[in-house]
Symmetry: C3
C-alpha cells in the first residue's frame, strides 16, 4: 500500500522538534512575563484585571485548562479502540497549540515590542486550542499526528486573525465565543473532513463505535466540560457582576439543555431508550449556544430558553443530520461536531444578534448599527470557507502519513498497544486476525 506512509519514525519527530525549536526561538525574541506595567495601547475593558492581583483569574484559568485537556480529551475516548489517540493526541495538539496561540494572538497586542504573558493571555491561548480540538473531533480516527500538527498551526493562525478583527476592528462582543471558537472550529473541521472524504468508509467501520467502558471514559470528558463551562464563558468577561451574569447564564442554560437533550434522545430512539452519543454531546450544546450573550442581561429565563433549544437541535442533528451530511455531502464528522459546536454556535450568534437588538448589552458594536456587526462577522466567517478547503488540501498531501481506511479508528497504527488486550479482543472476536494486516 504505497500511498500510505504511516511509519512516523522520522517525519513525526522531525516535525514536532522543529516546530518546538522554532517556537522557543520566537518566544526568546518576543515573549516576557507580564510585569503589570503596560503602555503603548489603550487597555480595553477585558484587560482591567491588570490593575488587580495578577493571579485573580487563576482559578478560572485552571477550569478552562481542565476543559481543554480532560474535557475535550476524554470526550473523544468514546471510540472503542481510539482512546490513546483521543486523549494523547489531544494533549499533543493542545500543548503545541497554546504556545502557538500565545504568539499569534500576542502579536496584535505588543507592548514595547513584547508579548507580556499574563493569566488573561494564557486563558486566551487555551481558548485558541479549543478551535483545533473541535476540528480534531470532525476528523478523529482518520488523520495522522503530523497532519494534525499542521492543522494546528494553520487553524490557530487564522483564528488569531479572526479574533483580532472581531474584537478590535468590528468591536463585536463574543465573550463565550459561540462563533469565533465553536462555529469556526466546527466548520473548519467539517471542511477538512470534506477534503479528506473516504468513500471506503461509507458503509461504516467496525472500529467506528463504542464499547461499554469507552462510553464511560467519554462521560468523564462530558461532565468536566459541562461543569466548568461557566468558567469558559465568563473567564474573560468584565470582573464583578458582569462575570457573575455570565456564570449564571451558562449554569442555567446547561441545566435546561440537559432536560431537553434527554427528552429528545428518548423521543427519537428505539423504545424510548437514551443514546449515549446524545448524552455525551447534546447536553453541552447549551454552553455553546449561550456563549455570545453569556454576559448580557438576557435574564435567567432567556438563558434557559437558549439552552432548551440548543439541546433539541443538537440531539436532532445527531439523529437526522449527521447521516445526511455523510451520505449526501461527503462530510464524515466522526464526533458530530456540527451538532455540538456548529449549529449551537450559529444559534449563539443569532441569539447574540437578537439580544443586542433588544438592547440587552450596551457598549458593543460601537462602530456599527446594532446587529450589523454580527452580520459582518457571520459573513466574514463564511467567506473563510475557501481558506478552510485550501487548508484541507494542504493536509491531504500524501506524505503526512494519513492512515489507510482499514486502519482508521485504531490506535495501533500510531501507538504501541498492549498485546494481551489485543489477544483478548481477538479471541473475543472469534479469531479475526485480519484487522491489523496493513500494519504488518
Amino acid at each position: 500500500m504505497p500511498a500510505y506512509a504511516t511509519n512516523m519514525r522520522m517525519k513525526f519527530p522531525i516535525v514536532a522538534l522543529t516546530l518546538e525549536i522554532i517556537t522557543i526561538i520566537l518566544f526568546g525574541v518576543f515573549v516576557v512575563y507580564d510585569d503589570g506595567k503596560s503602555h503603548g495601547h489603550k487597555p480595553h475593558s477585558n484587560e482591567t484585571h491588570h490593575d488587580e492581583n495578577p493571579m485573580d483569574l487563576y482559578p478560572m484559568f485552571q477550569d478552562v485548562h481542565v476543559m481543554i485537556f480532560i474535557g475535550f480529551g476524554f470526550l473523544m475516548t468514546f471510540l472503542k479502540r481510539y482512546g490513546f489517540s483521543s486523549v494523547g493526541i489531544n494533549l499533543l495538539l493542545a500543548a503545541f497549540g497554546l504556545q502557538w496561540g500565545l504568539l499569534t494572538q500576542g502579536i496584535w497586542h505588543l507592548d514595547d515590542g513584547k508579548i507580556k504573558v499574563s493569566i488573561f493571555k494564557i486563558i486566551n491561548a487555551d481558548f485558541s486550542t479549543a478551535t483545533v480540538l473541535i476540528s480534531f473531533g470532525a476528523v478523529l480516527g482518520k488523520t495522522s499526528p503530523v497532519q494534525l500538527l499542521i492543522m494546528t498551526i494553520l487553524e490557530i493562525t487564522i483564528f488569531s486573525i479572526n479574533e483580532h478583527l472581531v474584537a478590535t476592528v468590528l468591536e463585536a462582543n463574543d465573550v463565550g465565543a459561540s462563533m469565533i471558537i465553536h462555529a469556526y472550529g466546527a466548520y473548519f473541521g467539517l471542511a477538512v473532513a470534506r477534503v479528506l472524504y473516504r468513500p471506503g468508509l461509507r458503509n461504516g467501520h467496525e472500529n467506528d463505535g463504542s464499547v461499554y467502558h469507552s462510553d464511560l471514559f467519554a462521560m468523564i470528558g462530558t461532565v468536566f466540560l459541562w461543569m466548568f463551562w461557566p468558567s469558559f464563558n465568563s473567564a474573560i468577561a468584565d470582573p464583578g457582576f458582569t462575570q457573575l451574569t455570565a456564570v449564571i447564564n451558562t449554569y442555567l442554560s446547561l441545566a435546561a439543555c440537559v432536560l431537553s437533550a434527554y427528552a429528545i434522545s428518548s423521543l427519537v430512539e428505539h423504545k424510548g431508550k437514551l443514546d449515549m452519543v446524545h448524552i455525551q454531546n447534546a447536553t453541552l450544546a447549551g454552553g455553546v449556544a449561550v456563549g455570545t450573550c453569556a454576559d448580557m442581561n438576557i435574564g435567567p429565563f432567556g438563558a434557559m430558553l437558549i439552552g432548551l433549544v440548543a439541546g433539541i437541535i443538537s440531539t436532532l442533528g445527531f439523529k437526522y443530520l449527521t447521516p445526511i451530511l455523510a451520505s449526501n455531502l461527503g462530510i464524515q464528522d466522526t464526533c458530530g461536531v456540527h451538532n455540538l459546536h456548529g449549529m449551537p454556535g450559529i444559534l449563539g450568534g443569532l441569539a447574540g444578534i437578537v439580544a443586542v437588538a433588544l438592547g440587552k448589552k450596551e457598549g458593543i458594536c460601537h462602530s456599527k448599527v446594532k446587529g450589523q456587526c454580527y452580520y459582518d462577522l457571520a459573513k466574514g466567517l463564511s467567506d473563510q470557507t475557501i481558506h478552510f478547503l485550501l487548508q484541507g488540501l494542504i493536509m491531504k498531501l500524501p506524505f503526512w502519513g494519513q492512515p489507510p481506511d482499514q486502519n482508521c479508528f485504531d490506535d495501533s497504527i500510531y501507538w504501541e498497544v498492549p498485546e494481551e488486550e489485543e489477544e483478548n479482543e481477538e479471541s473475543l472476536a472469534h479469531g479475526d486476525h485480519s484487522k491489523n494486516k496493513a500494519e504488518v
Copy 2:
C-alpha cells in the same frame, strides 16, 4: 409482563419537557440576577459575602459542583452494567434539581418579590440536589428515570422547607449539613427503598455487583468527593477564619477516617483483605460526620476523633447492618447510603449537640436552650418519615415505568448499549442469552 411499562418513548420526554418548561416559566416570573443591592430582609451572617466581590465564592462553588456531578455520578458506577445510568441519570437529576432547588429555596428569601441568583444561591441549589443523589443511591438500579424525576421534585421541595425551618425558625447551625442533607437524604431514600421492596431480589441479582474496571470508575467518584469535601463543609461558612476552621476540620476528619475505614475493612474481611465497597464509601464518612460542627472550635483533635469513629461505624455498617436491613426490614439499600450518609449524619448531629453543649460555638440556637434545637431538629426529621413513605407510595404507581426484577441493575432497559460489548459479555458468560428477555 403487563405490569411493567418500561418503554419510556412518550412518558419520559413528556415529563421531562413539561417540567423544564414549567420551570422556565417560573424562572421568568421569579428569578433575576443578583445585583448586589439587597433590601427587604435583614442579611444574616451567611450572606455577608454580598458586600464583597460577587465571585469570591466561585472556586468553592466549582468544587461543590464537581462533587455533585463527578463525585456522586461516578461513585455509583461500581455496578458492572449500570454505569450509564449512574453517571447519566445523576446528571439528569442534578441538572433538574438545581433549577428546582433555586426556586424552592429562593421562595423563602424573596427580595422585592424576586429570587436574586448569586454564587451563594447556586451553591445552595447544588446542595439541594445532593439530597436526591443520596436517595438515588438507595434505590439505584430499581427505578425508572420518570420515578426519579418525581422523587427529585418532592424531595427537594421538602428539603427546602426543612432548611428554612432549621436555619430561620430554629436558628440552628448545620454548616456542613450532616443532618439536613445527609441524614435526610439517606432516610428519605431508605423509606422509598422500603416501599419499593422487591422480594424477587432477596437472593441477590447477577448484575448487582462490580467488575474490576467498574470499581476503578467508582474510585474517581470517591476521590473527588474526598478531596473537595472541605469545600462542601465550608462553602457557606462565615468568611475568614471560620471558613478556615471548617476546611481544616474536614480535611483532618477525612484523613483520620481513611485510616479507620481501611483498618476495619481489613479486620472484618476474609484473610484481612480490603473490600472496595468499604474503601469507596466509608473513607468519606468523616466528611459527613464532621459536617454539623465543621465550623465550630472543636479542635483538630476533635475533628480527627469524629472521623475515626465515622470510618469505623460506616465500615461495620456495610459489613453487618446492610444485610440485616435487607433481610429483616425489607430495605434493599443498593449503595449502602445508610452507612455513608445515614449513620454518619446522625453521628454528626450528635457531635454537634455535644460541641454546642461544650460551648464550642457561640451565636447559634438563639431561641432555645443549647442543644434543644438539635433535639427539635432530629425529632422534626423523624416525624417526616410518614411523608417519606407517602412519597414512596406515589413513586410506586405502576405507570412510571419501574423495571421488572430481572432487568434491575441493567443499563440496557433504558439505554442503547453498545452491541459488541454485550456480545463479548455474553460469550464470556458462556452463551447465556436469557438476561435480556424482558426487553424483547
Copy 3:
C-alpha cells in the same frame, strides 16, 4: 511458603489504628487552628500570606490536593491488575502522610508551643506526601500496605528535617521542590527498591504490564498532574508577580516538554509508534525540572528549554536506562520514577544553580556564595543514601507481609477482587488457573 506472611488480618489493622491514635494524641497536644496571630518567630517571605485573607491560597491547595490523590493515584493504575492498590493505597498513604507531615514539618515552626494549621501548612503537608508517593512508584506491586505505612513515617520524617535544613539553615530556594521532593523521593524509592531486589522478577512478570483500559485510567492521572503542576510549583511562591512567574514558567515548560517527549518516543520506538509509558510520564518531566527555578526570572524561553531537555532525557531514560538499572544494579523501578522524578529533579537543581549564577534570583542563599548552597544541598542529599538503605532494610523485615514473587503486581493478594472479572480473565487466558496459587 512460610517466609511470606501476607495475611493482613491482624497486623494491618493494628498498625493502622495504632498509628492513627498516636497521631490524634499528638494533634491533641500540639495542633491548633491558625488564628492569624503569629509571634515567636520572624515570618519569612513564604508566610506573608498570613496578613491577608486566610483562604487566599485555598484554590491552589485544592489543585495540589487533586495532584496528590487523583494525579499520583491514577498515574499508577497503568498496571493491568493493580489498579485497586494504586489508587487505594495511594489514598491510604497520602491520608496518613499528610497528618504525619503536618506534625513533623510543624515541629520546626512552633508558635507559643503550638503548630497553627493554615492553608499554607496543609499545602506543605500535601507536598510531604508527594515524596512517599514517588517512592511508592518505585516499589509498586512488590510491597505490602504495612511496609508502605512504615516507609511513609520514615520518609516524611527525614523529608521534614531536610526541608528545614534547606529552607532555614542553607536558606536555599527550591520553590517547586525539584530536589527536596522529586529527586529525594525518587532516590529514596530506588534505594528501597534496591534493598527489596527480587531476582525472581528478572525476567519480568505476566502482570507487570498494562491493558488497554488500564492505560486510559493512567492518563487521568497524567493529565491532572500535567494541568495542575503550575499550582504545585507556585503555591508557596511569594504572592503577586513572583507567583505569576512560577505559573507561567511551569505552564510553558510542560508544554514544550510534551513536544519533546512525543518526538523522542516516536523516534526510539518500533516503526515510530508512540509508547504510552513515555506519554504517561515523560510529558510531566518539564514540571519537575522547572521546579527549583520556577519563580526565578529565567524567561519564558528558558523555561521552555528546560522542559524540552527534560522531556528528552526522561523518555530516553525509560527506553534505555531503566532496563540497565534493573539488570545491572538490581534496581527494579516499577513506574520508572528515576526518569520522571530522579533525573529531571537533578536537572532542576542544576538549572537552579545556573539560574542563580546568572543572577536570575536575588535574596536567596544569603549565607553562602551563590551556587554553593545548591552544592551543599546536593551533597547533603547524596549523603543520605546510607539512611535510605537502612530504611529499606527495616522494611525488609519478614513480618511486614511482603508478597511472594508470583503475587506481585496483583491486587487479589490484599484486596477482595470481583469474582466474575477474574473468571473472565481466566477464560480469556485459556484456562490458566495457576496464577492465584499462593493465595489459596
